[in-house]
Amino acid sequence: MSFLNVAKQFAKSVDDLALGITVVQENDDFTPAGQWAEMTMLSHDFDSLGKSGAGDEQSGICQISLFDAATGTLQGSLLGIADAINAGFRHGAEFSDFTDTVFIQRVTRNAGRVSGGFYQIDLSIYWTSYTDR
């Protein structure tokens, strides 16, 4: 699976969750307001599975950052969205809308914090995929 297909797969899978907030991709041009989510594909690792065998195993992290412009209010709303994402990307979930399959390993979240004037919670989705050569 290519970089592009993995990113497209996550974009589609998050879109399918119908979170009800604006979801932007990395390097998207948009003006933040209210609540929104931004998706970033962090760097991938490759492990060769043999010279002429099944191909390469890729693994990486899809980060979904949840933002709220209204700092100083309760975090419950963002946590509800975090729960929806967590439920959609449970361990063992598989997505195969673009050529190969993306396997979900786990989802983690960091502690919420106010960063640059926005309340922010980050979710990290650890994934694996395989490429046939």
């Binding site: 990395e26 998207d28 041009d29 948009f30 003006t31 933040p32 931004e38 970033t40 962090l42 760097s43 690792d45 492990d47 693994s59 990486g60 992290i61 980060q63 950052s65 933002f67 983690t108 960091n110 914090r113 960063s115 640059g116 004037g117 926005f118 922010q120 980050d122 990290s124 650890y126």
Partner: protein
């Protein structure tokens, strides 16, 4: 009974066996410690090497890399004040982690205030001038729609996710070496 014959009593046999087991035990402890130290050095080293240098301000370049501190027992709570833009795993000193008395917890901590921004990214509300590039003396607007954006680097998570690889590599190096 001839002079060169020795009788091993049940007690003597137990004592000899104990000595052998103790020697094996010490060897295993030594090997386990070497594997853990090698694993830790490569994992912590990768995190430090992947930490951004901050090339916009030469006077502070390497603050984030230098901010990593290795401690045992508890996490570091201060600021190192080090600026080491070229810091790599080569200079890291990992203490003994596994001894006969037990094992130690080891921590890698960074308390520089913007470490979370480097790891997770973030926005800044209403930046006024943009970021000053001290090399050129110009302010560079790196924002979208009036909001400055810094992309995540993920130096901690991506290396922690490779813990198994670091352990395998260390075990292969130490136990086959």
């Amino acid at each position: 009974m001839t002079d060169n014959t020795q009788t091993v009593s049940p007690d003597g046999f137990a004592s000899a066996l104990n000595k052998i087991l103790e020697r094996f035990d010490l060897q295993n402890i030594e090997s386990a410690d070497l594997v853990m130290r090698e694993t830790t050095k490569n994992m912590f080293g990768s995190i430090i090497e992947d930490t951004p240098v901050g090339d916009f301000d030469p006077a502070h370049a390497g603050t984030l890399k230098g901010g990593w501190e290795i401690t045992t027992g508890s996490a570091y709570s201060g600021l190192t004040g080090r600026m080491t833009p070229r810091r790599t795993r080569k200079g890291l000193r990992i203490p003994r982690l596994i001894t006969k008395q037990g094992s130690k917890d080891i921590y890698l901590t960074n308390n520089v205030p913007y470490i979370n921004v480097a790891e997770y990214g973030g926005y800044k509300k209403n930046p006024k001038l943009g970021t000053l590039d001290k090399r050129t003396g110009r302010y560079v607007i790196r924002s979208k729609g009036g909001f400055s954006k810094q992309a995540p680097k993920g130096m901690v998570r991506k290396n922690m996710a490779k813990a198994g690889h670091f352990l395998t590599e260390a075990a292969n190096k130490v136990l086959k070496g």
